[in-house]
């Protein structure tokens, strides 16, 4: 009874903690004196999706620095500083350059952490620009790692400067305005002026410059001080405009003339492409107030301007802000790892004595696993809500889904096993798949908008969910087979484990086989053929054939129990090849997840598994 009460209490506590985390009022992040709550919820259009500025900041910073925060500030503060105080922002170290040869080429000093400020890179970037122009003409496949790193740095630097100059039309300029022009603009002497104001006297200014050139030629040395000032001002306006051409990264202004409710433009696009109107005039005024209040560190004015710009925050943006803050998959992975470590410790304790410690450890393990599952499950639901589509559309999303479903199935298996093997597998699979997901998440915003063909098909949704559930079962079977092999080395493999392994293998076969057939049905509807020997289709078939071979081999008595267990243990590698490996080929219709860096990881994993399974089988007592 006490045991049950404790367990119920823990489950209730778990549920409460997760629910409160997801329903709590957003705690406004603070940056120095400034509340960032409204600022981070301002909508922005990026990669075809409207998202909060918080996601934009995190994804851009992750792209430049490899992390979604800096040692000295978070992503939101970094973005605010970059937008509204670009001169100082250019001194923040945000560019991570891991390539040693590239650091030498750019003449950069060696640091413990290879992070550099834009200001430190400028001369090196200018020096290497001709090289980059030539490299851009080469086919990407023929580039060396050093050349690719140089190209990537230039691309990042270009994007960074676009963000840096997003509001250069609103920020005060370091120019001295002759009295004549100040008067025309209705400004007091020495008052700060920005591009938008200067643009109003541009025609007048250009005519004045033309008349100066007509009279005195093009040599500024012959001009009077006042004439030099006019010429300089004209040149400054042109320079600002030239630098702003094509600046379309920060799309925060609704394009009211497009007639679409999800069309946004960047501030400079508004001016240079005629997207302005009476409403955008108000919006730009609010952005100008936001910039001024940031520079003055005036929190009240900052909040007022940010509140106007964030408007009535839609539920999906509120949900995404919570998702960003809680980081369910990162926290879930940590909890899975802790649960795995605790469970290992629990198993290592001697069979007799220390009952109290064992009970506490068992509770701790269960609680951590449950919290992790609830967190990641809520994360998946949040992603469905934010994206308005099924949870598995990209390789990364399939990793998140399998990383949640495999531990869940392992816990279900534990109900039958009752020997901690299921808990161990849940912790291990949650940790390893979670780490794989985290290693792929640092490339920016991972909530992608899918192409139309991948988005709204019923059969595709069923097929992908079914096949990824199949992957989850396969990984649980593989982990269980490892445990059986390990127990066999100690001469005490439990019969119940073999029975569970057989049931799980059949379940894995059911889901992978049905998922593969459903994929064929979808392919028939979308592409007009059921089967096309696409690498991904072959990979799915490989898992089905592998399982069929092992299960039938055992039934027919052609394979020993040990060989079948070894084969099932090796299923992790087969799944790895079918799930991730075939994408490395870079061919076929399933090219959604091509990631070059995974090649060596997958190769090393396969070799490790061969060595591990081989050595466990070698030491095993049964033949």
């Amino acid at each position: 009874m006490t045991y049950l009460a404790h367990r119920l209490f823990l489950i209730a506590l778990t549920l409460l903690s997760c629910l409160s985390a997801f329903t709590a009022r957003p705690v406004f992040a603070e940056s120095g004196n400034m509340d960032m709550g409204y600022f981070i919820s301002i909508p922005v259009l990026q990669d075809g999706r409207i998202k909060p500025l918080d996601t934009f900041a995190r994804s851009k910073l992750a792209r430049f620095s490899g992390k979604d925060h800096l040692h000295e500030m978070d992503a939101d503060e970094w973005l605010a500083m970059t937008l509204f105080d670009p001169a100082n922002a250019a001194g923040i170290r945000v560019f991570r350059i891991d390539n040693e040869n590239l650091r030498h080429l750019l003449g950069l000093e060696e640091r413990k952490k290879p992070l550099y400020a834009y200001g430190e890179l400028v001369s090196g970037l200018e020096k290497t620009f001709p090289t980059v122009e030539n490299l851009m003409k080469e086919p990407p496949r023929e580039l060396t790692a050093d050349q690719k790193a140089l190209l990537a740095l230039h691309e990042n630097a270009l994007e960074y400067t676009q963000i840096l100059r997003s509001f250069s039309l609103l920020l005060p300029l370091d120019v001295s305005l002759p009295d004549k022009w100040s008067k025309k603009l209705g400004l007091s002497r020495g008052a700060a002026v920005n591009y938008m104001a200067l643009k109003k006297i541009d025609t007048d200014l250009q005519q004045t410059i033309k008349s100066i050139i007509r009279k005195k030629g093009e040599n500024p040395e012959k001009y009077s001080a006042q004439e030099q000032q006019a010429a300089l001002l004209g040149w400054q306006i042109r320079t600002i405009e030239d630098a702003a051409q094509g600046n379309n990264v920060l799309r925060v202004i609704p394009d009211l003339w497009s007639g679409e409710d999800d069309a946004y433009v960047a501030p400079w696009q508004l001016v240079l492409s005629g997207k302005g109107g009476p409403e955008t005039a108000d919006l730009l005024k609010s952005w100008q107030n936001l910039a001024a209040s940031w520079q003055d560190q005036d929190n009240a004015a900052w909040n007022e301007a940010a509140r106007k710009l964030s408007g009535d925050t839609p539920p999906s943006i509120r949900q995404e802000l919570k998702y960003n803050r809680i980081q369910p998959f990162r926290t879930g992975t940590i909890l899975f790892a802790l649960a795995f470590a605790t469970c290992l410790f629990l198993i290592s304790l001697p069979d007799h004595g220390k009952i109290a410690i064992k009970v506490v450890l068992a509770f701790l393990t269960s609680a951590m696993l449950l919290i992790a599952l609830l967190l990641e499950g809520s994360g998946l639901l949040a992603r469905i809500f934010i994206l308005g589509r099924p949870p598995v559309g990209t390789l990364y999303e399939s990793i998140l889904f399998v990383g949640w479903i495999a531990p869940l199935f392992a816990l279900l298996a534990e109900r039958k096993l009752k020997n901690n093997a299921g808990i161990l597998i849940a912790g291990l699979s949650g940790t390893l798949i979670g780490l794989l997901g985290l290693s792929m998440a640092d490339e920016g915003d991972n909530m992608k908008v899918l192409t139309a063909v991948l988005n709204t098909q019923f059969w595709l949704t069923v097929h992908v969910l079914c096949i990824t559930i199949g992957y989850g079962w396969c990984l649980v079977v593989s982990a269980l087979a490892h445990i059986i092999l390990w127990q066999d080395t100690r001469g005490k493999a439990e019969k119940s484990l073999y029975d569970t392994q057989k049931t799980l293998a059949l379940t894995a076969l059911l889901f992978t086989a049905v998922g593969t057939i459903l994929g064929g049905i979808w392919a028939d509807q979308s592409w007009g053929r059921f089967w096309g020997w696409d690498p991904k289709e072959n990979g799915a078939l490989l898992i089905v054939l592998w399982l069929v071979w092992l299960i039938h081999g055992r039934i027919a008595g052609q394979l020993s129990e040990k060989l079948v267990t070894m084969g099932l243990a090796f299923l992790s590698v087969i799944v790895g090849i079918a799930w991730i490996g075939v994408n490395l080929l870079g061919v076929g219709l399933h090219s959604y997840g091509f990631i070059e860096g995974l090649f060596w990881g997958l190769g090393a994993f396969a070799l490790l598994e061969i060595a591990l399974i081989g050595s466990l089988a070698w030491k095993g007592k049964t033949s």
Partner: protein
């Protein structure tokens, strides 16, 4: 065994139901062209006054009940000069009010330009529906309508809602208004 089969069956049915729900809760298809035209646009034109070259002050609200072409232009802007006769002709033909707000520096420059027009255009310019104005400090062009690239034209309905914006020069003989 029966229990396990039931659990598995329930799970599969739940999976199908979830997939069906997800499929049908996907974002609605893009709005039709007609719907799109109504989103974000159809805002009422903000109230403003302007002074025509003859020194009279007009209020945009006084023109309620008439279709208006609010045209931003200048004599130093080549596409503006090219399309000027056509926009005047089109306004006269369709009985539209043309408010042509110039960013020129002086009234004289505009008057000189108008004098160079053909007799037919000059006659049309005398109509009370053609209002030639100059924006002295960019208050209307830049501050209110955020127009920085000329020419731009706003199509304003009888109820003073902004129907459409035409950026750059266009063929006023063929333009669907």
């Amino acid at each position: 065994m029966i229990r396990n089969a039931l659990v598995l069956g329930t799970f599969i049915i739940a999976g199908f139901a979830l997939a069906y729900w997800l499929d049908h809760s996907a974002p609605a298809p893009a709005a039709s062209t007609e719907q799109k035209q109504n989103i974000g646009l159809l805002q009422q034109v903000p109230a403003f006054t302007f002074e025509t070259l003859d020194g009279k002050t007009h209020d945009i609200r006084e023109l309620k009940g008439q279709k208006i072409l609010l045209h931003f232009w200048a004599t130093w802007c080549a596409p503006c000069v090219v399309e000027f006769p056509d926009i005047v002709t089109r306004a006269a033909k369709d009985n539209l009010v043309l408010i042509a707000i110039s960013s020129d520096l002086s009234d004289e420059t505009i008057e000189k330009f108008l004098e160079k027009q053909t007799p037919d255009i000059r006659k049309k310019l005398e109509s009370k529906n053609i209002l030639m104005a100059r924006d002295r400090r960019g208050k209307i062009t830049a501050d209110l309508f955020q127009t920085y690239k000329l020419p731009e034209t706003l199509l304003i309905d009888k109820d003073q809602t902004m129907r459409r914006k035409i950026v750059g020069g266009t063929d006023w003989k063929k333009e669907d208004l």
